[in-house]
């Protein structure tokens, strides 16, 4: 009697959240999934929707441009998340030291992350500007370049420049999580390791890094998922160009959907990108779980 009422109560309480979730996530997701098996197009004149089975998927998987976009996305993800991880942990280790003004620095370091992605992208586009960009000016004055360059107008450098802007914005998040984790490392562990003869490097690799691995993995997973879906920074900075050199998978989906208005085929790309993300998450999840079993004291 009581148990049944409790059960009903549970569903009543959950209902608003489920409803919102259904409206903004589940229904569009199901709709996208359905669309991916059709030849739907966005057009002013409604045309009959035809179920075409796996045709979109076969096309997507054999489309060399989409494959290249995937490789680009992978490159972007690995390099930017990798750099964010290394830079984030390094900065966290520095900020974890006690020096004059360390509290102020800790507060300041979060600023790049607090800036909206679009603002960050616009700022970096200005920094990279071929005529009056700060980067050109800095490198020129240092004598490292002899002429101003178009950093994001050159297919050879554009992707790395976008990555730099992305790293700048996102490494503080990693640094913050790492710093919080570093503050929980018991001082005795490092003392014990020092007495056992371990130098700073050995202590970092054997004691500190394993200790902060759990929280670090969480933020790295989040960053990987975000990086794999990268869209806004590319949309603002390069629009996928020049010569498709920064056209990532999400951007490709966007174009298929909203530029070429092939929503059926675009949906199949989107499902594929989501699928790859899911695999990445699973991979991280299992390795984080393995780490966690070792790192809990």
């Amino acid at each position: 009697m009581f148990g049944r009422r409790r059960k009903q109560e549970k569903w009543i309480l959950l209902a608003p959240a489920i409803l919102v979730l259904a409206l903004i996530t589940l229904i569009p997701l199901a709709n996208t999934f359905w669309l991916s098996f059709t030849d739907t197009r966005i057009s002013a004149i409604p045309s009959p929707v035809r179920f075409i089975g796996l045709e979109n998927y076969i096309y997507a998987l054999t489309d060399p441009e989409f494959r290249e976009a995937l490789y680009r996305t992978l490159y972007f993800t690995i390099v930017s998340v990798g750099l964010e991880g290394i830079l984030g942990v390094a900065v966290a280790v520095l900020l974890n030291q006690k020096f004059r003004g360390h509290l102020i620095l800790r507060a300041l370091i979060i600023l790049p992350w607090a800036v909206p992605t679009i603002v960050n992208a616009v700022a970096w586009r200005l920094i990279y500007h071929p005529d009056y960009g700060a980067l050109n000016s800095l490198l020129f004055q240092l004598g490292l370049i002899s002429d101003y360059r178009s950093w994001i107008g050159d297919p050879a450098t554009a992707m790395n420049m976008v990555i730099l802007a992305d790293v700048w914005k996102n490494f503080p998040l990693v640094a913050y999580v790492a710093l919080a984790a570093l503050q929980t490392v018991p001082a005795d562990l490092n003392k014990a390791a020092a007495i056992e003869g371990a130098g700073p490097w050995k202590r970092f690799w054997s004691i500190t890094l394993p200790w902060i691995m759990g929280p670090l993995m969480v933020v790295m997973v989040l960053r990987t998922i975000e990086a794999f879906r990268v869209f806004d920074i590319i949309y603002v900075m390069t629009g996928g160009g020049p010569a498709d050199s920064t056209k990532t998978a999400s951007f490709y989906v966007y174009q298929e959907y909203f530029n070429y208005l092939r929503s059926g085929s675009g949906a199949s790309y989107a499902v594929l990108v989501a699928g790859i993300s899911a695999v990445l998450i699973l991979f991280y999840y299992s390795s984080a779980k393995r780490q966690a079993t070792g790192a809990t004291a």
Partner: protein, 371 residues
Amino acid sequence: MPENQILSVESLQKTYGDVHVLKDINVAMEPGEFLVLVGPSGCGKSTLLSCISGLTEVSSGTIRIAGRDCTHMEPANRDIAMVFQSYALFPNMSVERNIGFGLEVRKVAEAEKKAKVSEVADLLKIEHLLQRRPAELSGGQRQRVAMGRALVRDPKLFLFDEPLSNLDAKLRVTMRTEIKRIHQATGASIVYVTHDQIEAMTLATRIVVMKDGVVQQIGTPHEIYNKPVNAFVADFMGAPSMNLMKGKATPEEGHIRLEIPTPQGRSVSLIDRKTPSQSFRNGPQDVLIGLRPEAMTDQKLSNGSALQSAECLLEVVEPAGADTYAVIHLGETEAIARLSADAPVQAGEMSSITFDLSKVSYFDISSGNRL
């Protein structure tokens, strides 16, 4: 400075800003000694250990380990090992790797490392735990692993920082015995910090009693217990602690007469025949009379002439199993007498208490120093 000293601390000072934590510490130790630093919290004993380990920089003075000046040496180079109160086991490593960590850092060959780890594991009876992680161990097992990590490198000097404080009372007694056994088996030189005076008494070959950053007394447990240099040491060491009763000592022919006032308005009068009357050549003097609870009893003790009896009012009676403690108001303090377990006594009654004056100590009332 004798060459064979394993540790010598000379004129050691440590200050943090205006706070003077260690004041002119001088301690020396022979190989194989079990030196216990004991004192109330904040007395500087852990700071002293930390200075010896090199984890804390000294302000001035010298620290020598096995004859080498280590004052400004890195901890890793001092040839020491340390056991922490928190055990400080590396959570991401197996027990085996924890114990072998120091050898791993020193790039000892795998086979030799394995042999040494297994030897130590055998000594500590933890062979079956080698593949486990610290999180899977009980407190006592972690303690053993921490000791294993210290023992495996066979260092010149072992430092123990309150190693038993995180264990429950029963396990603490077991591990105390274990530590003593290991000390006897290995002949290791150990500096051991504790706030627990029973640990100090049971483990030490010599005890260093500290208070407010100053060494109060260094001596064997027997010396510390029977001849405390001041009222602080007398009070701190022993449980229950020494009774320090205000009274008057009057030198008379060949003996000293003691008068200890009671709240009932009369005095307990005792004769001390052991202490020479010249000790109080300035005539009658107000002193603190120090007697251990076991020197105030209902039993017929065997050292004849030192025994005195007096009728005392028992205010509280506390049976403690093996003994019964009775609180007696004597010399403006609550003195504790240790009676036999089956003593037919009741709170609120007068009872005859036997005082054993062969072990009496006298302390100056104002300075607290031994007279």
